[in-house]
């Protein structure tokens, strides 16, 4: 204990207790969450360790996935459910990128906008996370 005096020892002890409590509570809360039901006419995206809607199985980042195709003028509703253990971000270039939106684990984000500009717009996760790479290649195609 030459380097760590009693005060530091107490602090570390408190930290261990706090972290243990967090694990217990977080584990319990995580068990009771379930994804939202898909609404007719809307898009449901599940964010997890495999990306957005299992991007990893669809050749990202070389390929775009998921791809949402809509006609110009359509009111687009996207519900993003985060079933992962870490927070994820969700942005759509041009349509939904004016602020950083983060979705805590087990929670959903509902995004609605009118697709009034044609083109291809990237859908991506806006925060740094280990599976972030799979969440950079979504695409909104407005025709």
């Amino acid at each position: 204990m030459a380097l760590l005096d009693r005060r530091v020892f107490v602090a570390i002890l408190v930290a261990v207790v706090v972290v243990s409590a967090i694990i217990a509570v977080a584990f319990d809360l995580n068990q009771s969450r379930s994804p939202p039901a898909k609404q007719p006419g809307s898009f449901l995206m599940i964010a997890n360790a495999n990306g957005f809607n299992d991007s990893i199985d669809h050749g990202v980042p070389q390929n775009s996935w998921p791809i949402i195709t809509v006609q110009k003028g359509t009111t687009v509703t996207i519900t993003v459910y985060n079933s992962d253990v870490v927070a994820h971000g969700f942005q759509v270039v041009h349509y939904f990128d004016s602020s950083i939106q983060t979705i805590p684990p087990g929670m959903s984000l509902k995004v609605t906008f009118v697709a009034n500009t044609t083109g291809a717009f990237r859908i991506y996760c806006s925060i740094f996370c280990p599976v972030h790479g799979f969440m950079q290649s979504g695409e909104l195609l407005v025709q």
């Binding site: 967090i22 870490v86 927070a87 805590p104 972030h132």
Partner: protein
């Protein structure tokens, strides 16, 4: 779901990709301490911290601020953990706001506490890693974590983040950092403290599915300690206050920020 990546392989990979770069980062920054003034290294570390704070608070879903007043108990717990993170380390370091000048009466305890402060966020990262390893549909560890580019980004981050600790070591443990014999041993201790939370997170996250944002909230709070410890030497020193000195400190801060910003570019 059946794990697609084995525990031993993924855990060892996580350990190696976290501990080795961390040690290298500490060696680089403390080695640089032989040529660069401690104050400038602190500015460099503070530049890294600016980005680190953004990363960590992002991992906590910005302390659930997007939920407004509707977050309930979860939101309260997240914010409470941020507060605990701040208070815990301020309490542990009772010399925090004393009038002593850095490097005079301080000891190895400060870099140790900074290592804890910076390392706590590793609990969240490790949890994410463990969970991903256990649930990924990929059979390649590199692919499971976003490919080569994302891997490079992670390694660079793990070189840079401990530099905040190393800068504090150079500033606050000047007598120790100049000794050739104990120097590497100290860095090893700092590396272990920095890495342990990450390994705990990876091991538990592999087997138990739980919400890692709580750990990031705690890490956001503890990073406040690192911020103040890195900021303090910027306002002290024997060099006269001139515009040139301010410019130099500013440039070193920008340098640190730019390094971690470039590392993050690999991740996008």
């Amino acid at each position: 779901m059946m794990a697609m990546l084995g525990f031993a392989v993924s855990f060892l990979a996580w350990f190696a990709s976290t501990a080795i770069p961390a040690f290298v980062g500490l060696v680089i920054i403390t080695g640089a301490g032989k040529f660069v003034r401690p104050k400038l290294l602190a500015a460099f570390g503070f530049g890294i911290l600016l980005w680190f704070f953004l990363d960590t608070i992002g991992g906590s879903a910005n302390l659930y601020v997007n939920l407004g007043f509707t977050g309930g108990l979860n939101q309260f717990a997240i914010f409470a953990l941020f507060v605990i993170g701040v208070i815990l380390l301020f309490f542990a370091d009772h010399k925090m706001f004393s009038g002593d000048a850095p490097g005079e009466s301080f000891d190895f305890r400060i870099p140790l506490l900074v290592a804890i402060a910076v390392g706590v966020h590793g609990l969240g990262e490790g949890t994410a890693f463990g969970s991903t390893a256990a649930t990924t549909s990929s059979t390649s560890i590199l692919q499971a974590f976003g490919g080569v580019s994302a891997g490079v980004a992670y390694l660079l981050h793990k070189v840079l983040e401990p530099m905040m600790i190393g800068a504090c070591y150079v500033v606050y443990s000047q007598a120790r950092s100049k000794k050739a014999s104990g120097w590497l041993k100290d860095l090893l201790v700092l590396t272990v403290l920095f890495v342990i939370p990450s390994l705990v997170g990876a091991a538990t996250g592999y087997y138990i599915s739980y919400d890692a944002t709580y750990f990031f909230a705690l890490g956001t709070g503890t990073s406040a300690y690192a911020a103040l410890r890195l900021a303090r030497p910027l306002f002290m020193g024997s060099v006269p206050a001139t515009s040139y000195e301010s410019l130099k400190v500013g440039l070193w801060l920008v340098f640190g920020f730019t390094c971690i910003y470039l590392a993050a570019l690999f991740h996008s």
